[in-house]
Symmetry: C2
Subunit: 207 residues, 2 copies
Amino acid sequence: MSCDKIITISRQYGSGGHEIGVALAKKLGIAFYDKELISLAAKESGIAPEVFEQADEKAANSLLYSLSVGLYNYGNGFSNTMGDLPVNDKLYILQHRIMKEKAEKECFVIVGRCADYILRNNPNVVKIFIYADMQSRMRRAVERLEIAPARAKQAVVKLDKTRANYYSFYSGQKWGQADNFDLCINTTQLSTEQSVDLITKYLEIIG
Amino acid sequence: MSCDKIITISRQYGSGGHEIGVALAKKLGIAFYDKELISLAAKESGIAPEVFEQADEKAANSLLYSLSVGLYNYGNGFSNTMGDLPVNDKLYILQHRIMKEKAEKECFVIVGRCADYILRNNPNVVKIFIYADMQSRMRRAVERLEIAPARAKQAVVKLDKTRANYYSFYSGQKWGQADNFDLCINTTQLSTEQSVDLITKYLEIIG
């Protein structure tokens, strides 16, 4: 099917949001971005991707500073104006810029990275939240992180908290609140394919 | 299509949840309950329906009392044991009982009334949350309540607050939190028919 939409996927840790994003982009024949934006940001800034990877989707504490010195002016020479900002802020600002630029030119699916907030005024954006119950997320954490089942809940809660802090810090909004999304899907009972089916049905409906 | 599910619809005021419930029940060929439960509760208790209507989906403040005196024992003579409980609690307890009984025997769509919480352990229950942006809910409030547009926001906020209090009071959970539902649909861009299409697709998928 063709698509003129940009689909942002926010997701609880272990809910399968990444896999759904990959499969949805494939089905729609459009680009997929998740950690891919780190490589692009690294390339643009000259900073090593490994440095950005450590900072990915983690909040810094200097946004007020970055706002106060006018770093949200996206004109020429932008990346040279970031000076001594923490790497988390640099990454956020670069991803913000890359996302905005891409949204002018192409359709894509993007996971995380405050994309629903950054692209909120774009009329082509469809905002989806993917979540699941704690038990199924714990199972996924055990597989993915190769940790003992006894440690799974702690890991899920911690990773969610990091994402929530990141989202709240940069957006000023509460993470995972239904109101901020067009569609919220509980994947506890759904396979990746079934979730993708439901999202494509939604895209068909809104036309 | 056939259906072996019970579908609970929680809804923000003015989001079209009631209309979606009616149309969904019709499409699935199953019963629909909303205020209908009041008549049933009135019939069972001998209390005038008008009295219950005033108390509908409003919290009382005596649940602890009703728990402490064992009113959650649903044996014979239940309705005679409610004594001097506030009418809100009587209505809640009767609706609770009627809902549980119906869920043993038939499929239905039910709107509001903490149904998602009351029936949470029933494996056939599908829990849906319907919401929309403030502007579209205000438009609906103006039409439905026949009030001036300037008063619409206040009315919507107040009615939501009443529902949230009711839900929190009887369930102990936060109202409208995505985690409590299987599917949350923002109806700002959707007609009633489109919302019903999406829900029936979801029901098809989960089988």
